[in-house]
């Protein structure tokens, strides 16, 4: 049974697991996936890559940023059967560049870029660790409770 108390202006409610078993009837406003204000994930609504995605960490902004962008763009737009097969040169350039900065891009593994830039090297590399330093929650926002409704209800509710 839940138990409620009031201490001045503050209200305290204790609830048991059973109390919270029933689904919530609180209403949340549906999110507009095309909201220009919202933080975007890795891929923008128009299909482009969001180079500023925190999930990429410093890959697109570091000394090898331009090589990374070329390689990853090529991969992203590749329509070959084996996706990215024509991008070998770009990836090689990127790898060569990264080898020049072993501190920033530790060379334990092959640096093939996957769809999630930062998950490419699983070991202690600068990208994921610094990525998580600057990562805000935007990459988990797409997973937030929001339906895929396209209703443009981005209206500002008067507060």
């Amino acid at each position: 049974m839940s138990y409620c108390r009031q201490e001045g202006k503050d209200r305290i409610i204790f609830v048991t697991k059973e109390d919270h078993d029933t689904p919530s009837n609180a209403e949340l406003i549906a999110d507009d996936p095309n909201d220009p204000y919202e933080e975007q994930g890795l891929i923008l609504p128009n299909g482009d890559i969001n180079w500023n995605c925190p999930c990429l960490g410093g890959m697109a902004s570091g000394p090898c940023g331009s090589q990374f962008k070329e390689a990853f763009s090529c991969f992203h737009y590749s329509k070959e059967e084996v996706k990215g097969s024509e991008c070998i040169d770009n990836f090689r350039n990127m790898q060569e560049c990264m080898q020049r900065y072993p501190e920033l891009y530790p060379q334990e593994e092959d640096k093939e870029s996957s769809s999630q830039g930062e998950s490419s090297s699983g070991s202690d590399s600068a990208a994921p660790s610094d990525n998580s330093a600057l990562i805000s929650e935007s990459d988990s926002t797409p997973a937030a409770a929001s339906s895929d409704s396209t209703s443009p209800t981005d209206s500002q509710i008067a507060s």
């Binding site: 409610i13 697991k17 406003i29 902004s61 000394p63 998580s132």
Partner: protein
């Protein structure tokens, strides 16, 4: 011959001193011994009836040339010295001591000296003689002596590491040039062959700059223009730099900071770094994250950045950091700033991310030098190092301030106290820890937890005065209590740095402090402000100024986006978090002010509900990965476990809603992790909810 003799007699003392100095050098002994003895007999022989004839003549010519050359050099050197001395005095009076700048000045004055010596006289003594006269100038000597022998003859002098250069040239203005002249003369010819050809004045700063650049990321040469100029080298600035580079390919970004360090993150300075087992942590500044991986507090290693001289020419642009330089004046009409060394940098777009300076208590400032020496205002790396040092030596430390920083430091030091017997006291005017953030019941509960970490908490304490007696500090409180301690840490807030407001003509907010900017973080046409210093308009929550790490990241990133043409307002709500020991950890978002009415929904807690347990159990979904920062909760957990609770008043875990006009404007997730997106959504909606218990259900607080 007679003339030669008289000249020689004049220079005899010099020759003698130089020869003594030469003998000190092991390497050149052979040459010396070969040379010096012959000089003396030469004087005698020159008056002889004919002597050795040809050989003698050859020798006389060489010695004569050497003497003439040395005299010429001495003359020029004296003149140059006087000039340099005057310049130096002027420089010193107009700016603060920074040896890196002196190098540029002093080394540039080297070429005149180098060019003055056109002599081909064979060196009598050795290049290493030059360092020796600097023994009178203590700071120079130790660095120079070991450096010099290693360099031997050649281009050593001017391409030597700047610290070596500096003493060489610093010495002359300080002492009479004569003793220096002869040895330096000998040194010059050795270097002369290569230096005049290799180093005419212009490339000179570059040469030095290159060697300087190798040793430190800071460089001497300040670029005159940078398309993107970021003032301040903290979290917001770095986030903006990254954002700009991501969006504008090949962007050239210049960060100017008055700290000596590259951009780093602050939260570990009051949390993880204190829990590290590594005794050299103050040097390495590495900490362990939640997943066991180590990382440095620096966002990127030095190799990420490029040198400021290369900024203009780098093919793909880059980020350059100019450390140790302060922007003192901003000319908005001319789109340029002036540094404290009078150099100017023009820009196309500018970000002000100057952060702030820790506030101090007036009573401490008035208390005098002795008390100030025993007080730490905690913010930077050097403060962390000094406090770490103090905590190992002092018997008692008092923290004044009961907010985030004060409480975190108290817990960190409290943990140390269990090993070392250090007494940790925390005092603040509120009734409990985090009294301005948490509702009273929770603040009291938190205070109990802090006490369990080994901290002596003195609540409702207003400091009346502080005195220093018998090398101990005495803090007199307004209610009469007296606290004796060795060291004080003042964590009483942050004063935003708005020094540039006057010269730039920027508005300063009177309610919150900081530069007033619009919802898109813009102050004026080409000027944005982000981080602690920005008082911005939050579309949802109104005008505010936020001093948290995630806000610095979010606002920095947003400013970077807007500087590259995005025009987005502040929309993604930043969050913050705190851990007070292994039992109490919370994440929060929005306006979390204890003066607002709150509704707290708590689960009946079990022992599983602690940050420690949360990090150990969950895999990738640790809050630190989905949120901004990796936080290592204490790896060393030697605390009493939470008793399995059925007690009504135990606030193990739950959600607290802060309301303003019945709308939720702030949420605290109390020992509940990985639910921040839901909280963010609720605040973004800005709805009036009739029953907050229903809203609380969305968080599934009973689950892990």
């Amino acid at each position: 011959m007679l003339k030669c003799r008289t000249v020689w007699k004049k220079l005899a003392p010099l020759a003698r001193s130089s020869s003594t100095l030469c003998r000190q050098n092991v390497k050149r002994t052979g040459l010396n011994n070969g040379r010096i003895p012959t000089c003396v007999p030469a004087a005698n022989m020159s008056t002889g009836p004919g002597g050795l004839g040809g050989d003698n003549l050859k020798y006389t010519i060489m010695v004569g040339a050497a003497c003439v050359g040395s005299l010429t050099y001495a003359y020029f050197l004296l003149k140059g010295d006087q000039k340099r001395y005057q310049e130096r005095i002027e420089e010193i009076t107009t700016r603060s001591q920074r040896s890196s700048k002196e190098e540029a000045a002093t080394v540039q004055s080297e070429p005149p000296a180098v060019e003055a010596t056109q002599t081909e006289a064979v060196p009598e003594s050795v290049p290493e003689a030059a360092p020796s006269p600097e023994e009178p100038s203590p700071p120079a000597a130790p660095a120079e002596e070991p450096a010099a022998p290693a360099e031997a003859a050649a281009p050593s002098e001017t391409t030597a590491p700047p610290p070596a250069d500096e003493p060489v040239v610093e010495a002359p203005p300080e002492e009479a040039a004569t003793p220096v002249a002869a040895p330096v003369v000998e040194e010059e010819p050795a270097a002369a062959a290569e230096t005049p050809t290799a180093e005419p004045p212009e490339p000179q700063p570059e040469v030095v700059a290159e060697s300087a650049a190798d040793s430190t990321p800071a460089s001497l040469k300040v670029p005159s223009h940078s398309p993107y100029l970021l003032i301040g080298g903290g979290t917001a600035s770095f986030a903006a730099a990254r954002s700009i580079r991501a969006r504008d390919p090949g962007a050239r970004v210049l960060i100017v900071t008055d700290e000596p360090d590259l951009p780093y993150m602050r939260p570990p300075l009051s949390k993880e770094l204190w829990f590290s087992d590594d005794p050299s942590v103050t040097e390495t500044l590495r900490f362990k994250q939640w997943n066991g991986k180590e990382r440095s507090i620096y966002f990127q290693p030095p190799s990420f950045y490029i040198n400021s001289e290369e900024l203009a020419s780098a093919e793909n642009g880059g980020v350059a950091v100019l450390t140790g330089k302060k922007v003192v004046h901003m000319d908005v009409r001319g789109n340029k700033v002036k540094l404290d060394d009078d150099t100017e940098i023009s820009y196309d777009k500018c970000l002000i991310a100057t952060g702030g300076v820790p506030r101090n208590l007036q009573v401490i400032e008035r208390a005098g030098e002795e008390v100030m020496k025993k007080t730490t205002l905690f913010r930077k790396i050097e403060d962390f190092k000094s406090l770490d040092n103090v905590s190992r030596n002092a018997k008692s430390i008092t923290i004044i301030g009961g907010g985030f920083l004060g409480s975190e430091l108290a817990c960190a030091l409290g943990r140390r106290s269990t090993e070392s017997g250090l007494e940790v006291i925390q005092m603040f005017p509120e009734k409990g820890n985090m009294g301005k953030v948490l509702p009273e019941y929770l603040s009291n509960w938190t205070t109990e937890k802090v006490k369990r970490e080994g901290v002596k908490v003195i609540a409702e304490a207003l400091v009346k005065s502080v005195t220093c007696k018998d090398d101990k500090l005495e803090i007199h409180l307004k209610d009469g209590r007296l606290v004796k301690t060795d060291h004080i840490v003042a964590a009483v807030g942050l004063e935003p740095n708005v020094d540039l407001a006057k010269s730039a003509g920027l508005e300063v907010d009177s309610d919150f402090g900081g530069y007033r900017v619009n919802a898109e973080l813009q102050a004026r046409s080409n000027i944005w402000v982000a981080g602690d210093a920005a008082c911005f308009y939050d579309i949802r929550l109104g005008r505010r100024r936020v001093e948290h790490h995630d806000h610095a990241v979010v606002s920095g990133r947003l400013a970077g986006e807007n500087m590259t043409g995005a025009s987005k307002p502040y929309w993604h709500q930043s969050m913050f978090w705190s851990d007070l020991g292994p039992d109490v950890g919370y994440e929060a978002i929005g306006i979390v002010d204890s003066s607002l009415p709150t509704v707290g929904v708590f689960a009946k807690a079990t022992a599983k509900d602690t940050p420690k347990a949360a990090t150990e159990k969950s895999g990738t979904g640790i809050r630190s990965e989905s949120e901004t920062e990796d936080t290592a909760t204490s790896p060393v957990a030697s605390v009493t476990p939470l008793p399995p609770v059925a007690h009504k008043d135990d606030y193990g875990k739950g959600v607290i809603f802060y309301l303003r006009d019945k709308v939720v404007v702030g949420i605290i997730l109390w020992n509940v992790f990985n639910r921040m997106p839901i909280a963010r959504k609720i605040i973004k909606d800005g709805e009036e909810h009739a029953d907050l218990n229903e809203v609380a259900k969305l968080f599934n607080i009973h689950e892990d």
